[in-house]
Symmetry: none
Subunit: 250 residues, 2 copies
């Protein structure tokens, strides 16, 4: 029995059962377990199967970590912690802006039962708050399909008509030098909301703090309160710039 014949047999069994054990294979093919192990190692190297402890699996049966991983998902805990803390400051009667973006979105779950007005340009936020106690004001304008949010001049003018007590915003990067966005549109919305709010909360998980991005759209003075899980000595730099920093632990 040559290697090629064994490989063929193994692939057949794999196709049939989805997985195989070394013990079984050794008996079935009538070779030693050592040989089977060697075969599997070679086949795995060629990408014909996925090697597991004690056997092998069909490639398609395996959870491919890379394709499954939602990069942002790993930060969900941080984002939730940040938003939970931020939500504590929201009181009945507030009128608040909620930015689009994955961080600010997670604020929704914590404010669902408050008697407040929410002004937002984010469709997911609207969807999430539809069956809640809050009153929703949706900012109008052109819909950015990829971002699932409304942008553009009309949106900007719409925002300018309202006044809120608090704004919960996100950015792509924040340093002591200023605020960074990934696009003009994002920046324009975030800026407009900030300008129309008494108190600006910036929600940034650790991956955003100290990072720069495509466009520096404003200096740090726009921000009143930074909520973050970034627990590094240099948050004091933000404090010296007059920003209140709310540190949360994940």
């Amino acid at each position: 029995m040559t290697f090629q014949k064994r490989a063929h047999k193994i692939l057949e069994l794999l196709e049939e059962f989805g997985e195989v054990e070394i013990r079984q294979l050794a008996t079935k093919i009538d070779v030693s377990e050592v040989t089977v192990r060697r075969d599997l190692t070679a086949m795995a190297a060629s990408g014909l199967l996925y090697r597991t402890h004690g056997g092998a699996m069909k490639i398609s049966e395996v959870i491919k970590p890379v394709s499954f991983v939602n990069k942002a998902a790993s930060n969900i805990k941080a984002k939730d912690a940040i938003c939970k803390r931020a939500a504590e400051d929201v009181i009945d009667g507030d009128v608040i802006f909620i930015d689009c973006g994955s961080t600010a979105f997670r604020l929704c779950q914590f404010i669902k039962n408050k008697k407040i007005k929410v002004i937002t340009n984010s469709l997911p936020v609207v969807n999430e708050l539809l069956d809640s106690a809050v009153t929703i004001n949706l900012i109008g304008g052109e819909v950015d399909v990829t971002r699932q949010a409304v942008h553009g001049i009309t949106a900007y003018e719409h925002i300018a008509k309202y006044r809120a007590s608090k704004a919960f915003l996100g950015v792509d990067g924040i340093t002591v030098e200023g605020l960074y966005a990934g696009s003009e549109h994002e920046a324009s919305n975030t800026l407009a909301m900030a300008l129309q709010s008494d108190c600006v909360y910036m929600l940034c998980d650790a991956s955003k703090v100290g990072k720069t991005s495509y466009l520096r759209f404003n200096d740090l003075s726009l921000v009143n309160i930074l909520v973050t899980n970034y627990n590094n000595p240099d948050v004091t730099e933000f404090r010296t710039k007059g920003i209140s920093v709310l540190s949360v632990t994940v």
Copy 2:
């Protein structure tokens, strides 16, 4: 039972129940709780699930896919026939208003692949057209939760800023005497859209024609074209009033 198999099983259970407890998993997979805990930790690190105290939760997608639903229950066949006929008049380059309401909603499926701009205050319409060829302009303002649409003064002003070649509207009732709506808000939106359009299409299934309702908000002159499955001799009355009537059969 290898880690891969357990992971597979855990993800399945997670998909089904949304959350799982370590105790349950240990029993179900027949391994110790320690092992389950280790599995969950590993999977959480890869972003496959959201670790909680005592178990795990399904990771909610970063941005929950927007899913506004339109419970267009009655007369779907008639409404589809009407909208199919109306959609024939929509050509590339058009800018069109689409009203909220179950009838106008069904126009979406027929215009998805046209290169047009759609201005609407209906959340289900936006949702339906998100992954299509059309450019969407969402009218801003206060969100009417029950109607899943945007209403109010801001919405009215927003509409007034745009000009469209065609408007596809619905009403609660239409007679030779005029147009009837179920509420002030509906009427205000429908009227605003009509005033900003070169050609006004009224989409009415047979149950609406010849019926009156709560509020008569305008006379018939607002309408250019009536699309309906109402096949009754007295549609001629509409024609004598200067309305083109497009009759469809179901």
